[in-house]
Each structure stands twice: as structure tokens, then as C-alpha cells.
């Protein structure tokens, strides 16, 4: 998060939560109904609501000149990871419940979330800085020489 006052940070966090409260509830409703009743369009609508809320969150970031907080990143990452894992495990262990149609719909929905995230990162940081965010090996080099420009200027 960039330099904003504590008061502005509270405003921003309250707004983010205010966006996710109704969107999360509505998304959960649509996803639940779509998955349990095998209605692909409902599931797609559920992911649509989540993507819209995600876009809303990004807009808040832009307007308040901030980025995702570490807590938000961790929470989102864990949720996405758990969802992907649950989908794969469900398909492997309960193929009769998680049939091809449900697998495809939820899989595409999760992919759309990942794509949204990637598009956001590319627009916000550009390709180079986006890759650097995931370049753990480069960041592991603690030697002072690694900060020299000709050695890649690691931050």
C-alpha cells in the first residue's frame, strides 16, 4: 500500500468490505444454486458477480492510490488455492457428483478469476514488474553485489 493517512486507509478498507459483503453473499448464492442443481449459467453468473466485485476492488485501489494489502493477497490466494484444490479433488474422488459439466463451468470460472488477476497485474505494473513480483529466486540473492545495476539491481 502506498503512503496514505491512517484515516484514508480505514475509508478504503471499509469501502472494500462494503463491496465484498453483498457481492460475496450474492456470488455464494448463485454458485451454490448453480452447482447443486447443475445450472451452468447460474454458476457462471456467480463467477460474474465475483469478477465484478474484483473489478470494484481494483477501482478502489486506483482511486485511493493503493494496491492489495498483504492480508487481502493472502486471503484471496488461499481462497483461490482451496477452490482449485477442492475442484480437482472433487473430480478425482467423487466423479459422479462433480461431473464434466460442473468441472468445466467451475474450472472456467476459476480461470476467469486468474485471468482477471493477471490482466490487473499487467495493467497496474507492466510485464516486467509483474514477473519480478513472482521471481522468488532473484530475490533470494542476498549478496550486496546483486543490487548493482549490471547484476540486475535486485530490490
Amino acid at each position: 500500500m502506498t503512503d496514505i493517512t491512517p484515516s484514508e486507509r480505514v475509508d478504503r478498507n471499509a469501502l472494500v468490505l462494503a463491496i465484498w459483503m453483498p457481492a460475496g453473499f450474492l456470488g455464494a448464492l448463485l454458485l451454490r444454486y448453480g452447482t447443486l442443481n447443475n445450472h451452468a449459467w447460474w454458476t457462471a453468473a456467480g463467477f460474474g458477480v465475483i469478477v465484478v466485485a474484483f473489478i470494484g476492488h481494483i477501482l478502489v485501489n486506483v482511486l485511493t492510490r493503493t494496491t492489495f494489502t498483504p492480508g487481502e493477497t493472502a486471503f484471496g490466494g488461499v481462497l483461490l488455492g482451496v477452490a482449485i484444490l477442492a475442484l480437482l479433488l472433487g473430480r478425482l474422488t467423487m466423479p459422479e457428483r462433480v461431473d464434466a459439466a460442473i468441472f468445466m463451468t467451475i474450472g472456467l470460472g476459476l480461470t476467469s478469476l486468474v485471468v482477471s488477476l493477471v490482466v490487473y497485474l499487467l495493467i497496474a505494473f507492466g510485464p516486467r514488474r509483474t514477473l519480478e513480483k513472482f521471481d522468488v529466486v532473484r530475490d533470494n540473492n542476498q549478496r550486496p553485489a546483486s543490487h548493482l545495476p549490471r547484476r540486475g539491481r535486485r530490490e
Binding site: A14, L29, Y33
Partner: protein, 614 residues
């Protein structure tokens, strides 16, 4: 429903306490607890108004009235356009007046502008009426909803105290800023949930809905048209209007009550504490006149057909198909009540703290002392409301009925403060007294007491199906105009003019096209919800300009409502963006010392001009 509903309610409570605790930690000065340092966040400005107006309208009540009277009742929703226009006009001017003359609360603004302690007291009493009987009635309704939704597992009295305690804790911790952020979140929740409920109902329930199925109303009630221009009945309780409660004039008078949502002391205080920016424009144009009005006009008839037996039954019907859908219905209705409850109690307690406790009783308090006083007042306020809500529900219901119409009687005073400097103190006081008396005697509060003590009155509630607010306001305005003409050249006028000039100068460019917009608004009002609205009854189904009969498939009045809603949004847009009322800016503000009467002196330009010639 119980567990899921309680989870949603717990989430809302957690949000309010989280925001309150974070706000408390970041407050730079203790007095920011009372006024958010005059810088409420922009997003709050954007989202709060539509939810507040829907809450004041009473979402469940509005749907119930529509299911009883059809489109004539849902026609009131077009009133969100004049509400948005009033908010733009009044909030803009009072915001600038606050910055220019240091008028920090509505009571101070009106009291100092008219140099009247009586008017200051009137505004404080109104704030208390909103904070106590009005809010207690809302709390009682919310608790009743919880009791019915949980099949009595949570009793009404328990629900009253739990809700009041949770809201009180959040308010006591975080103050004005935290309260308003929670209310704005609840407003956003309603704005998302309400159209969702309408869509879910249409998709999940098999039976065909509106407009294929007409709204089932009692015999004789015209569900698809307004009940004439005016109905010659002596009033509700004495005589039943056969064609329905909502004639064109009846709708217009109900629209006036909606305007009370933005001219009551709490809403004015909210406007005074806004941050500069264009949030008011976005809120009024796109969310209030646009989205909220559209949702109400389009979706309420759909929901009304399905919600004939009430929100609980409708929720249970949806719950059988998808549990979360049922919970959404209840969460929406609950939020629409709690939003207004929390807003009015908190603002009432804060206004009493500032205007009575700090100003008169404890003027030497330090900043920390002021914050502590406000916290005690908030706790006491919530306790009183919970007490009234749990033990005196009938009294609060009767008293609550007059509160909003009484707030509307402030309109002449507010237009004096914001636009019409010729309106004088005496005129406002006389008009207000007459208007309030008429309101009380055209509502159950006055009628019941008078008839119990003396003789039966020849009229009932809302004679001629015209709302008490309109009866009061008509005579109020007439008296104000008449009395003001007698004091056009008083010395106090000079000081009032000085404030108006300073406010105009601070607002920057003078508004453009306001006269044209005013004329357009009058024509639009006449056709949209005035006597001309009866043309919409058959305008599209049986047009007068051709002998052909079009097969529309939907009621003509519904088309009329949608058409005038769209034109209304255009008007609000013009007023906000083109005339410039949607912009709040501190760039050109030049504070003045206001409130000290100065002797009137001859203008020196005449003397200077003559001296130059000679």
C-alpha cells in the same frame, strides 16, 4: 432460516464494530468523533442517500401497499426524483453556508440565520423526535421481523435490546464517521439485494408474475391506474376511498413526505459534514434518481405480486428452493429498517450533545470531554430507544407517524436559508406553528387525543386522501409568503442577504439555466405525479390521438411511470452537472463573521459617483 439469517446479521454487526474500532484508532482530534472533522469519505456520500430514502419510504411497507393498491401505490417511487433535486439544492447551499459562516449543525444554521432561539429549539426537538419515537418504531419493526423469521426462537424484546446494544457499541466506539460508513454499507447492501430479490423471484418461482398476472387487489380498487385527481372522502378511518388510496394529488402529497428524508436535521447534518467533491452529484443523479427510483418503479410491482402474504412467507417460498435466496429477502428488509434506525438515533444523540449539552449546559468542556459527553449521550439515546421500542410500541407507532410530515414543515425555513432571503423569522415561526398543528390534527396522534377529550372531528387521517404533510405545508407556505411580504425591508434582511451573497460567491460560477430548469420541473411534476399523471392511466393503452387500440401487454400507467422517471433523471443530471449544484468545493470559500446585526448604511457608490461628477 434462523441460522443463516443470524450469520448475515452477525456479519453486519462485525463490520460495524470493525469499522468503529479502526475509526476510533485513527481519529486525529477528539472532536472528530462528533463531526468526522467535516470530511466524510466520498464513497459514503455516494451510497448513503439512496438507501436512506428507501428506508424512509419503508421498503416492506411500500411493497405491501403496492400489493394492496397496485401501480397507484408504486407511483410514489417517482418521488425519488424530486427528493434528489431537493438534496442537490438544499445540501449544496447548506454545505457552503457551513463553511462560509461556521454554522456547524442544522439547529445552529437555522437558529443563527433567522436569529431565533425558538427555531433552534424546534430543530433540536425534531432531531429528538427522529431519534426517539421514529427510531423506536423502526427498531420495534426490525425486532418483530426477527421474531417472525425465527419462529419466535428470538423474542421481540430480546431482539430489540440485542440490536440496540450492537448498534450502540459501534456508535460509542467510532462516532459519526463510523456510523455513517456502516449505514452506507447497509445502503449498498439494499441496492444490490433488492434487484436481486426481484430477479430471483421471477426465475425461481414457477407461477407467472407481473405483468402477466395482475396485482390482486380488493374489489373496486384500480390496480393499474391512479384513483382520479383527488378523492372526495373525509379521510382514512372515517371513509374508505373505493378506487384506492392513491389519487394523483394523494401521490403528490406522499412525495412531499419522501422529501422529508433529505430535509430532516439528521440528513442536513450529514450534508454539512461531507467532504468536498462531486459525490453528491453521483449519488443524486445515478444512484437515487437513477438506480434506486428505477429499481422501485420496475421491481416493486414484480415483487408485490409474489409478496402478497408478507416478506416472511415470500422468504420461506424462496428458501424452499434456495436457502440463501430466502435469507437475502430478510436481510434486505432488515437492513432497510436498521439503516434508518441507526442513522437517526446516532445523529439525534450527537446533535443534542452539540446543540444542548456542549452549547448550553457544559460550554467549558475540553475536546476530550466533548467526546466523552457524546459517547454518554449515544449510550443513553440507544437505551431510551430500546426502552421505548420494547415497552411502548403503540405509543411510538402513533408518535412516529407525525415525525416525517413535521420535518417537511421545515422546508420554508430551509429555502429561506438557502435561496429566498426575503423569508423572515416571524413568517417562518408562524408558518411552522400552523403547519405543525395541521399535521398533528390530520394524523392519528391529534385525531385520537382530540376525539377522546372533546368531540368527533369531521375528518379522518389524510382528508381527501391528501397526506398530512401536504396539508400542513400548503398553509405553512401561504402564511410564510403572506407574512414575509410585511417584513421585506427589515434590518435583519441585510444580514441574511450578506450570507446569501457570500455563499453564492463561494460556490463559484453562478448556476446556469436554473429558471429554465425550474419551469421544466414544474411541467414535469404536473405530469409525472401531479394532477396530469391521470393522463397516464390510459395514454398508452387507449390513446386519444387515434382510434386504434394498441396491444401493449403492460399497463399504460407503468409505461408512463418509466417514461417520466427517465425524463426526471435527465433533469437531475442537468441540475447537478450543468447548473453546478453537484459540486462541493472549498477553493473559493471566504469565511465571514455572521450573526451580528449591523446597522443599515447608505451605499457609498452613489456618493462616490456624484463626487466624481462634481
Amino acid at each position: 432460516v434462523t441460522l443463516l439469517l443470524l450469520t448475515v446479521l452477525a456479519l453486519i454487526a462485525l463490520y460495524s464494530i470493525y469499522v468503529a474500532s479502526r475509526t476510533a484508532r485513527t481519529q486525529s482530534v477528539p472532536t472528530a468523533f462528533l463531526d468526522a472533522a467535516g470530511a466524510l469519505p466520498g464513497w459514503v456520500t455516494i451510497f448513503l442517500l439512496p438507501g436512506l430514502v428507501i428506508a424512509v419510504l419503508g421498503l416492506e411497507r411500500h411493497i405491501e401497499l403496492t400489493s394492496r393498491f397496485g401501480l397507484q401505490a408504486s407511483h410514489i417511487a417517482i418521488g425519488l426524483v424530486p427528493v434528489a433535486i431537493t438534496a442537490l439544492l438544499v445540501w449544496n447551499k447548506i454545505w457552503f453556508a457551513t463553511r462560509v459562516a461556521g454554522l456547524s449543525t442544522p439547529a445552529e444554521a437555522i437558529g443563527r440565520y433567522f436569529d431565533s432561539v425558538a427555531l433552534r429549539i424546534v430543530v433540536i426537538v425534531l432531531a429528538i423526535l427522529f431519534a426517539l419515537p421514529f427510531a423506536a418504531n423502526l427498531l420495534s419493526d426490525a425486532a418483530q421481523l426477527v421474531e417472525r423469521a425465527t419462529d419466535g426462537a428470538i423474542g421481540r424484546a430480546v431482539a430489540v435490546w440485542v440490536i440496540a446494544t450492537v448498534m450502540a457499541v459501534a456508535a460509542i466506539i467510532g462516532g459519526w464517521r463510523a456510523i455513517i460508513m456502516t449505514v452506507a454499507m447497509q445502503s449498498l447492501l439494499i441496492l444490490v439485494f433488492f434487484p436481486s430479490v426481484a430477479i430471483l423471484g421471477e426465475i425461481l418461482i414457477d407461477e407467472s408474475g407481473f405483468p402477466a398476472t395482475p396485482i390482486a387487489v380488493a374489489d373496486g380498487v384500480l390496480w393499474d391506474r391512479l384513483a382520479g385527481v383527488v378523492q372526495p372522502v373525509s379521510g382514512v378511518g372515517k371513509e374508505t376511498p373505493a378506487a384506492g388510496l392513491f389519487s394523483a394529488v394523494g401521490v403528490a402529497s406522499s412525495v412531499l413526505v419522501l422529501i422529508g428524508a433529505v430535509v430532516n436535521p439528521a440528513a442536513l447534518y450529514f450534508a454539512q459534514t461531507l467532504r468536498p467533491g462531486s459525490g453528491v452529484a453521483i449519488s443524486t443523479v445515478w444512484l437515487t434518481a437513477g438506480f434506486a427510483a428505477g429499481c422501485l418503479l420496475l421491481a416493486v410491482p414484480l415483487v408485490a405480486v409474489r409478496m402478497v402474504d408478507g416478506s416472511i412467507e415470500f422468504a420461506q417460498q424462496l428458501y424452499a428452493m434456495e436457502p440463501l435466496a430466502g435469507v437475502i429477502v430478510l436481510a434486505m428488509v432488515f437492513n432497510s429498517i436498521i439503516l434508518a434506525f441507526s442513522f437517526f438515533v446516532s445523529s439525534g444523540a450527537i446533535l443534542v450533545t452539540r446543540d444542548v449539552l456542549i452549547r448550553y449546559l457544559l460550554p467549558q468542556l475540553s475536546a476530550r470531554g466533548q467526546r466523552l459527553t457524546a459517547r454518554v449521550a449515544l449510550g443513553f439515546g440507544f437505551f431510551l430507544v430500546a426502552f421505548l421500542g420494547s415497552f411502548l410500541p403503540l405509543f411510538t407507532a402513533i408518535a412516529a407517524s407525525v415525525v416525517m410530515p413535521l420535518a417537511v414543515q421545515l422546508l420554508p425555513a430551509l429555502f429561506g436559508l438557502t435561496f429566498l432571503s426575503f423569508i423572515s423569522r416571524g413568517a417562518v415561526l408562524a408558518g411552522l406553528t400552523l403547519g405543525c398543528l395541521i399535521v398533528i390534527f390530520t394524523e392519528p396522534l391529534g385525531i385520537i387525543v382530540f376525539e377522546a377529550l372533546f368531540v368527533d372531528l369531521p375528518w379522518g387521517r389524510w382528508p381527501l386522501t391528501i397526506h398530512s404533510a401536504a396539508w400542513g405545508l400548503v398553509f405553512n407556505v401561504l402564511l410564510v409568503l403572506l407574512a414575509s411580504t410585511a417584513s421585506l425591508k427589515s434590518a435583519a434582511r441585510y444580514e441574511r442577504d450578506r450570507l446569501h451573497r457570500a455563499v453564492r460567491a463561494s460556490a463559484g460560477d453562478s448556476p446556469r439555466g436554473t429558471v429554465e430548469l425550474g419551469v421544466l420541473f414544474l411541467i414535469w411534476s404536473f405530469l409525472a405525479y401531479g394532477p396530469g399523471a391521470v393522463l397516464g392511466n390510459t395514454f398508452f393503452s387507449d390513446p386519444i390521438f387515434t382510434t386504434l387500440t394498441p396491444i401493449l401487454g403492460i399497463p399504460s400507467l407503468w409505461v408512463w411511470q418509466i417514461l417520466f422517471w427517465l425524463i426526471g433523471v435527465l433533469q437531475v443530471w442537468l441540475l447537478a452537472y450543468k447548473a453546478g449544484f453537484g459540486r462541493l468545493s472549498t477553493e473559493q470559500i471566504k469565511p465571514i463573521e455572521f450573526g451580528v446585526a449591523r446597522p443599515r448604511k447608505d451605499s457609498d457608490w452613489l456618493t462616490t459617483g456624484i463626487r466624481r461628477l462634481t
